[in-house]
C-alpha cells in the first residue's frame, strides 16, 4: 500500500503539487489530467527523483520520504521514464542483467527479463548486444524502458506515459505487459496515461488538475464524470486539456 500525506512540491516560481493526500491500495491505478497538472512530478516524488517540500510518503507502512532512489528501488519500486535515457557504451544486456537482479536468482531473472523484452515485440536475441545509444529508435528505446521496469517485477511499478511514442501494433503488446505484470507480481501498477484503453482497464483513476487531486474513484465513475465535464455542447472548459475528449468518451 502506498500512502502520500500532505505532499507539496514547488519550483522557484510555481507550485506543482499542492497538499496531496492519497492512499493507493488498488492494483492498477491510472493518473490522468491536463498538461502541467503535476502528474509526472507526482510519480517522481514517489520514486524519489524529486524531493517534496513538505509531506510524507509511506510504502507498506514504512516512511520512505528520506530514502534515496536506490533505496526505494531496492524496497520494491520501479520506474519507466517518459523519455528513456540513452547511454553510450551500455548495452541492452546490461539493463537486462540489472532488471533480472544480477544473478540473485541464478540466471532466472535474466531469462525473465529477456522474455519481457520479447513481450514488447523486441526479440532479446536481436537486441541483447545493441547499444542503448542513438542507433536505437525512440520507439525501441521506449519499449526497452517499459520492459525493463516491468521485468523487475516489484511490488510497485510506475509508468510515466508508456504509450507516448508507441505505435498501434505495440500498443496491444503494451497492454499485455501490464496484464502479465498484474498477474505475476500481485503488486501495484500506477500509470500516467491519456489513453482510453488504459484508463478503461484501470481499477481506479486519479484525475489531477493544477497540482491537486480533482477526482479519485473507480475508473468508470471518473470517466463518466470527465465525459460530462468536457461536453463541448455545454461549452464547458476542456478539463482534460490534451486528452482527446472523444477518446475518453
Amino acid at each position: 500500500m502506498l500512502k502520500l500525506e500532505n505532499i507539496s512540491f514547488a519550483t522557484d516560481d510555481k507550485e506543482i503539487l499542492r497538499d496531496i493526500n492519497l492512499t493507493i491500495d488498488d492494483r492498477f491505478v491510472a493518473i490522468t489530467g491536463p498538461n502541467g497538472s503535476g502528474k509526472s512530478t507526482l510519480l517522481k516524488v514517489i520514486m524519489g527523483l524529486v524531493q517534496p517540500i513538505s509531506g510524507r510518503i509511506y510504502l507498506d507502512g514504512e516512511d520512505i520520504t528520506d530514502l534515496s532512489i536506490s533505496e526505494r528501488a531496492n524496497r520494491g519500486i520501479s520506474f519507466a521514464f517518459q523519455q528513456p535515457v540513452r547511454f553510450k557504451g551500455l548495452k541492452v544486456r546490461d539493463l537486462l542483467e540489472l532488471a533480472g537482479g544480477r544473478g540473485k536468482n541464478g540466471n532466472e531473472g535474466f531469462v525473465h527479463a529477456c522474455k519481457v523484452l520479447g513481450e514488447v515485440g523486441l526479440c532479446a536475441k536481436d537486441y541483447i548486444d545493441r547499444e542503448l545509444d542513438d542507433t536505437l529508435s525512440g520507439g525501441e528505446m521506449k519499449r526497452i524502458e517499459i520492459a525493463m521496469a516491468a521485468a523487475r517485477g516489484t511490488k510497485l511499478t510506475l509508468f510515466d506515459e508508456p504509450e507516448a511514442g508507441i505505435d498501434l501494433w505495440s500498443f496491444q503488446s503494451l497492454i499485455h505487459v501490464f496484464e502479465r505484470l498484474y498477474q505475476k507480481t500481485s503488486g501495484t501498477i500506477i500509470i500516467i496515461s491519456h489513453q482510453e484503453r488504459i484508463l478503461n482497464i484501470a481499477d481506479k483513476i486519479i484525475y489531477l488538475k493544477d497540482g491537486m487531486i480533482s477526482e479519485y474513484a473507480e475508473g468508470k465513475k471518473v470517466l463518466d464524470q470527465l465525459a460530462l465535464d468536457i461536453n463541448p455542447v455545454a461549452g464547458t472548459d476542456n478539463l482534460l486539456g490534451d486528452i482527446a475528449w472523444k477518446e475518453v468518451r
Binding site: 527523483l49 534515496s68 536506490s70 535515457v85 551500455l90
Partner: protein, 305 residues
C-alpha cells in the same frame, strides 16, 4: 616469473599462461620468453633495443603476442619493434605494457612500433597499458605507432589505458594507400594527478581509402587529458573522427580536431563532445537498484568498453 609479473601479463595481454602461436615477452628490460612459428619470425635487433616481427605472405588466422612488463623500480627503456606483414595476411597482434612500481624511482617504457602492412593484408592490433604499485616512483609510458598501409590493407587498432599510468604521450601516425582502411578505437581513463596526451594522425593518400578514429576518455579527480585528432584527405577518400569524453571532479580535457583536405573528393567529418555524466543516466540506473557510485562505475565501464 613471479606473481606480480604474472598479474601484469594478465592485465596487458589477458594471458594466464604462455600464449599459443608466436610471442616475445619482455620483462624488466630483456626478452625472457620467445616462440616463433613457421610463418611468423621474431628477430632481436642488433643496432638497438627491440625486435623485428616478420610475418610471411599469406599467413592467416595467427596471432603474435609481444607484451612488455616492468616490475623493478627505476627501469627506463626505449624499445623499437618493427612489424613486417606480407601480402594477403590476416593476423592479430597483441601488445601492451604493464608497470608495477613499488619503489621510489620512476619506471618508464617508451616503445616505437612500426607497421609495414603489404597489399591486401588485414591486421588487428590490441594494445593495453596498465600500471600499479604504491611507490613514489612514477609509472610512465610513451608509445608511438607508425603505420604504413599498402593498397587494400586494413588495420584495426584497439588501444587502451585504464588507470595506473602517471604520464603518457601516445602518438599514432598512419599513411594509407589506395583502398586502404584504418579503424582506431582509443580509450583512456585518468585519475589522481595523471596526465595523458594522445595524438592520432592519419594521412589518406590513396583513392578509396577510409579511416574511422574513435577516442573515448574519462578524466577523474585532478587528471588532465589532451586528445589531438588529425585527418588529412589527400585523395578521393572518406574519414570520420569521433572524440567523446566524460569529465569528472576537477579533471581537465582538451580535444583538438583537425581536418585537412587537399582533394576535392575528400570527405572528412569530425565530432567532438565533452560532458559530465548526465544526472538522468545516474537516476535511471538508480531506479534499477544501483547506488549512485555503482551507477557511475557502470556508466564509465560501458563508455570505455
Amino acid at each position: 616469473m613471479d606473481a606480480i609479473q604474472k598479474n601484469l601479463l594478465k592485465e596487458v595481454a589477458a594471458l594466464d599462461a604462455l600464449p599459443v602461436g608466436a610471442y616475445n615477452i619482455r620483462s624488466n628490460g630483456k626478452s625472457t620468453a620467445r616462440n616463433t612459428t613457421a610463418s611468423i619470425d621474431i628477430v632481436t635487433k642488433e643496432d638497438k633495443n627491440g625486435i623485428d616481427i616478420i610475418i610471411k605472405p599469406g599467413t592467416k588466422n595467427q596471432s603474435v603476442h609481444i607484451p612488455v612488463i616492468i616490475s623493478q623500480t627505476g627501469i627506463q627503456e626505449l624499445v623499437y619493434n618493427d612489424f613486417f606483414i606480407g601480402e594477403d595476411c590476416d593476423v592479430t597482434i597483441v601488445a601492451g605494457c604493464g608497470i608495477s612500481n613499488c619503489g621510489g624511482l620512476d619506471s618508464k617504457h617508451d616503445g616505437v612500433h612500426s607497421f609495414y602492412v603489404k597489399k591486401g593484408s588485414k591486421v588487428k592490433y590490441i594494445e593495453r597499458h596498465y600500471g600499479e604499485g604504491t611507490g613514489r616512483g612514477k609509472r610512465l609510458m610513451n608509445p608511438k605507432s607508425v603505420i604504413e598501409l599498402e593498397e587494400g590493407a586494413v588495420m584495426e587498432l584497439e588501444t587502451s589505458q585504464i588507470g595506473g599510468i602517471d604520464d603518457t604521450f601516445r602518438v599514432t601516425e598512419a599513411k594509407l594507400a589506395d583502398n586502404a582502411s584504418i579503424i582506431i578505437h582509443d580509450k583512456i581513463l585518468t585519475e589522481g594527478d595523471q596526465q595523458a596526451k594522445a595524438e592520432l594522425a592519419v594521412e589518406m593518400n590513396g583513392d578509396g581509402s577510409t579511416c574511422d578514429l574513435i577516442s573515448r576518455g574519462v578524466a577523474k579527480e585532478d587528471s588532465v587529458q589532451e586528445v589531438i585528432i588529425k585527418i588529412d584527405g589527400n585523395a578521393a577518400c572518406s574519414g570520420h573522427a569521433e572524440c567523446d569524453s566524460i569529465i569528472m571532479d576537477r579533471g581537465v580535457i582538451v580535444a583538438t580536431p583537425q581536418l585537412k583536405a587537399t582533394n576535392v573528393d575528400a570527405s572528412l567529418i569530425h565530432e567532438a563532445a565533452i560532458g559530465k555524466i548526465a544526472g538522468e543516466q545516474l537516476n535511471k540506473l538508480m531506479t534499477m537498484g544501483l547506488s549512485e557510485k555503482e551507477a557511475e562505475e557502470m556508466i564509465i565501464h560501458g563508455f570505455l568498453q
